[in-house]
């Protein structure tokens, strides 16, 4: 059974192209107001899954509800359902002859609960470029315009497909801040990304997708047993680098300090990063 109170509810979702199963039976539930991230290598089926949720593609089988409606055929009507969702697509390069402001103002009129276009332009940091033609924007600025068009209608759920590709570090931080603001306003966010730091910074929960399946869903801190992973300690002793792993690194370091008579040369204590865990997960499977 799919739950209609969740923002997204998926059971047994499958999709094949030319006999190749791209999405091989996915179960997924995203709560309202959650930032949910799908990670996975290229070809894992992330984009196909998201495009089915967005109503761009039809599933072969499975139960599927987005805001309580089947995206392929919303019972309340296509336009009513679309009025409630926002989509930030990958690689759109249209409307180069229009200015940023013209475009955002135009799209605002498609929605019944549109935000103030000038405010949205400011939110994505394009105020200075508001009257520039889109064709003159850099890749990152263009992406920010895509984000502006995705959020202009005050969506209840926002789909973001690799949104920060081409952003400089400062723009990425600002974008993360914007996403958190939207979440605080109650927007549900489904994010696919290649960037693990982005997932770490934003996601309430992460799903790792591989070969059409979800192999794990967890919070970023607990993914792949990360919470229980041993700490890795390294230091220099007798002219060589020494390593050890411990579940009690503090006690280990205290002992080591006593043994070495105070300061431990070149001491580092690390836990596996989300990236280490993720690479191990997709390498193993």
């Amino acid at each position: 059974m799919t739950s209609s109170s969740a923002a997204i509810s998926v059971r047994g979702l499958r999709k094949s192209y030319d006999g190749v199963e791209v999405v091989a039976g996915i179960d997924l539930e995203v709560a309202r107001g959650e930032i949910f991230t799908i990670l996975g290598p290229n070809g894992a089926g992330k984009s196909t899954t998201v495009e089915i949720l967005e109503g761009y593609r039809k599933a072969d089988s499975g139960e599927l509800l987005v805001l309580g409606e089947n995206p392929a055929r919303p019972a309340s009507g296509e336009r009513v359902w679309r009025n409630r969702i926002g989509i930030v697509l990958q690689s759109v390069s249209d409307a180069g002859d229009l200015t940023v402001a013209e475009t955002v103002h135009h799209f605002a009129r498609y929605y019944t609960k549109a935000k103030d276009p000038d405010h949205v332009i400011e939110l994505v940091g394009l105020t200075e470029k508001a009257h520039a033609k889109i064709e003159t924007l850099s890749g990152g600025q263009r992406r920010r315009l895509d984000v502006a068009l995705g959020i202009i209608g005050s969506p209840e759920i926002l789909f973001l497909d690799e949104p920060t590709t081409g952003f400089d570090p400062e723009a990425r931080r600002a974008f993360w801040e914007l996403i958190r603001t939207l979440r605080d306003e109650g927007t549900t966010i489904l994010l696919t990304t290649h960037y693990l730091d982005e997932a770490q910074a934003l996601a309430d929960r992460v799903a790792v997708m591989l070969k059409g399946r979800i192999i794990e869903i967890a919070t970023p801190d607990l993914l792949g047993g990360r919470g229980d992973a041993l700490a890795r300690i390294s230091w220099s002793e007798g002219g060589t680098t020494q390593h050890s792993e411990s579940s009690n690194p503090t006690a280990f370091v205290t002992q080591l300090s006593t043994r070495l008579g105070g300061e431990i040369p070149d001491l580092t204590v690390t836990r596996p990063s989300l990236e280490d865990i993720y690479l191990r997960m997709i390498g193993e499977a």
Binding site: Y56, E78, L89, V92, D97, E102, Y110, Y111
Partner: protein, 260 residues
């Protein structure tokens, strides 16, 4: 906003975009005028008492202008919009396909009216085109434009699903239009064409549209020179309506926001 309101909003935006694309303005609007100038200057011969080829040609160009700005423009520009993601983006919004079609219809109509005015202006000034004086002929001209442009728009939308990509669209669409122009009495006097060519052309709407335009701009005495020895106004209307219905149904069935 209502589906129709959204269509008009879209139409306004598309006109703005159209005017900012200098190539498209020059190509769609000026090209027929340049053709008119060349053909009108080269072929000054008289094809019937009181009728020069350039008059015949202007009537044909007005008709084929509807095909250029409607069918050709849309069948090329829609696949290109699909390629760059415009349609995918619109599909993700509360934009209805009907609104999108209305928007296209508006930009096409605006371009057509402008082009027809240019052709009639130059035709009358330089090539002895007689603008009709009777209200009945202007009325006929009006319904020919309305029906012709509607036909051309829906067939352009329907055909836009045929090219696989925007880059290939021009190579598929342009030859079709040029061949139709040759067959339909734009570049040659229709009744001079071999019978089999006339028969092929009679299937398509352009032949009927050019004939209708001739009935507006050429003297009534010319009617006898037509392939059917009369203007066949009723038949023109009927065939354009049939194509309008076919085009509307086909565009509704085949229109794709996204190439899967």
């Amino acid at each position: 906003m209502s589906i129709i309101g959204l269509g008009f909003l879209r139409g306004g935006l598309e006109i703005k975009q159209f005017l900012r694309q200098r190539e498209s303005v020059v190509f769609t609007l000026a090209f027929p005028v340049i053709l008119l100038f060349i053909f009108g200057s080269v072929f000054k011969n008289t094809i019937a008492p009181g009728v020069t080829f350039s008059q015949y040609f202007v009537a044909g160009m007005v008709a084929s202008g509807l095909v250029n700005t409607g069918f050709q423009q849309l069948a090329i520009s829609i696949p290109m919009s699909r390629d760059v993601g415009t349609l995918k983006r619109l599909r993700g919004t509360p934009m209805s396909p009907i609104s999108y079609f209305i928007g296209k219809g508006i930009v096409v109509t605006a371009a057509m009216l402008f082009q027809v005015a240019l052709l009639l202006g130059f035709g009358a000034l330089l090539f002895g085109l007689h603008l009709p004086t009777s209200p009945a002929l202007w009325l006929r001209f009006t319904w020919l434009i309305v029906l012709g442009s509607a036909c051309s728009t829906v067939l352009g939308i329907a055909f836009s699903s045929v090219p696989k990509s925007g880059r290939g669209a021009s190579a598929v669409v342009s030859p079709i239009v040029i061949i139709l122009q040759f067959l339909s009495g734009v570049f040659f006097v229709f009744s001079d064409l071999p019978k089999w060519m006339q028969d092929i052309a009679a299937i398509f709407p352009l032949k009927w549209l050019t004939q209708g335009m001739r009935s507006v701009f050429l003297p009534d005495s010319f009617a006898i020179k037509e392939a059917g020895h009369s203007w066949e106004i009723g038949k023109i209307a009927l065939i354009l309506v049939i194509w309008l219905v076919i085009g509307t149904l086909a565009s509704m069935r085949s229109f794709k926001w996204v190439q899967e």
